[in-house]
Symmetry: C2
Subunit: 253 residues, 2 copies
DNA sequence: TAGTGGTCTAGACCACAGG
DNA sequence: CTGTGGTCTAGACCACTAG
């Protein structure tokens, strides 16, 4: 037992708020995550056992356990029966949840820009109709946008939405991300199926992405559903491969 | 309330095994998953509430809740406070899991084949050394394999492993997937970081994948860790874009 | 043998959605 | 108002790991 011994700076966990709306397990897990990401709790460090932590914080074991499980799911902690709980070694800790639903918008540490190339109603082709769960030929909203960061084009986004979203304006689309607009209307995306692939650019894609006319592009096709399972959005996007990659942290269960 | 009313075929949940090693929540969730995937419980169906299910199965609410949570995490069920739990509408694909390409092909009933193009010890370059957590110049295992399905090349797999795996044989590599070999040695991959991108084929890649010499390829870079956080594998793979795509189901939290 | 996480119980109160 | 899931408690027994 050397550097990877028990570390527990309990000053971090003194004032838990039992009256507010924030769950206790979340307060614990988020503070613990901050302490790990800042290096205050170093890689390889062993945590105290769950019961001891619970006693120290005045929490029951299931509550402590849930807080720890949150970080295990994020890949920050590893639990082994008979051993204990350890901070993962190495600079793992990537913030990205799988490949994100929100990433298109929240990678906005840079200056994201949107240029609307097309915005119209259009009868749904076979594949679009099936994805959205409408009859073929139904008029649906068609969007084509060019997304850029700091003035450099990054992606071409083609989307189809059910007709009830026909009142979305071009101005809204240029100012915000699609999912932000949907959420402001009370529509929350809960589940999405997506396929990631690659192909040659064709048509005007190379020009719009400022790459070779037939150069390689990274593609993503996605169908997104709201909480009730209704299809909200079908999209086919292509990305500049030198500007964008899908990053993922996978945790085995 | 019509077709999406409560459905609960309780014949499925009669003989829970309380003595064996399989957790009760897992028995419940796996049977429920099978019933959903088979269509026996149709999309949109509402489940009974958690307490009623627990009473029916002779289980406590937390146990039932955990079983349901497993399927919520997989994107098969949706829970809404005040409403209930529903089977998701629309098709559901499998979640990206921590498997090797070999296992992916096996589970999709194709015949995977492996040709070992290179298998040697090699001093670790800067990026390899950092990924594996060894000193630059350390001899590590280098693998280059051509993976095919039904005789058609699908991917080129380049991998680096720590020196302790130098006794893996070429015969093993041609007969099984890398992760299967590692697991048979008691090494289990727990966490992996991966980046998915695209680029042109270069060198002999086009020829080995039987595509255009500079055609587009789908790429995946991965660092995988075991339960103790030690880096086990660093890989850089490229895939034939017409033969392979990454499919994902994402669930918002 | 002692300590750990893995599982499970039988209650409780709350926030939110619906009629 | 009732019913739902969201959270929390205070115990319990077990399987696995280490020394």
């Amino acid at each position: 037992m050397a550097a990877d011994d028990v570390v527990w700076p309990d000053e971090l966990f003194t004032d838990l708020d039992r009256t507010g709306p924030v769950p206790l397990y979340f307060q614990v897990s988020s503070r613990l995550e901050a302490a790990i990401r800042s290096g205050e709790i170093p890689p390889g460090a062993r945590l105290e056992n769950e019961i001891a932590i619970g006693h120290r914080l005045g929490l029951s074991r299931p509550t402590v356990r849930r807080a720890i499980q949150e970080l295990v799911d994020k890949g920050l902690l590893v639990r082994r029966r008979g051993i204990g709980t350890q901070v993962v070694q190495g600079q793992v800790t990537r913030q990205v949840e799988l490949t994100s639903l929100y990433e298109d918008l929240q990678s906005s540490h840079q200056e994201p820009g949107t240029k609307v190339l097309a915005h119209e109603m259009r009868p749904a082709a076979e594949d679009v109709a099936q994805a959205l769960g409408v009859a073929p030929g139904t008029d649906v909203v068609y969007l084509r946008r060019q997304r850029s960061t700091d003035g450099v084009p990054v992606a071409l986004l083609e989307n189809y939405l059910p007709p009830e979203f026909s009142d979305i304006t071009t101005e809204q689309l240029e100012a915000r991300g699609l999912y932000q607009i949907l959420r402001a209307r009370g529509v929350t995306i809960r589940i999405a199926n997506q396929k990631i692939g690659a192909r040659r650019a064709h048509g005007d894609e190379g020009e719009l992405l400022d790459i070779d006319r037939t150069g390689p592009v990274l593609t993503m096709e996605r169908v997104a559903f709201d909480g009730s399972g209704r299809a909200i959005e079908f999209g086919h996007h292509c990305y500049r491969p030198d500007m964008y990659k899908f990053e993922t942290t996978l945790v085995a269960k």
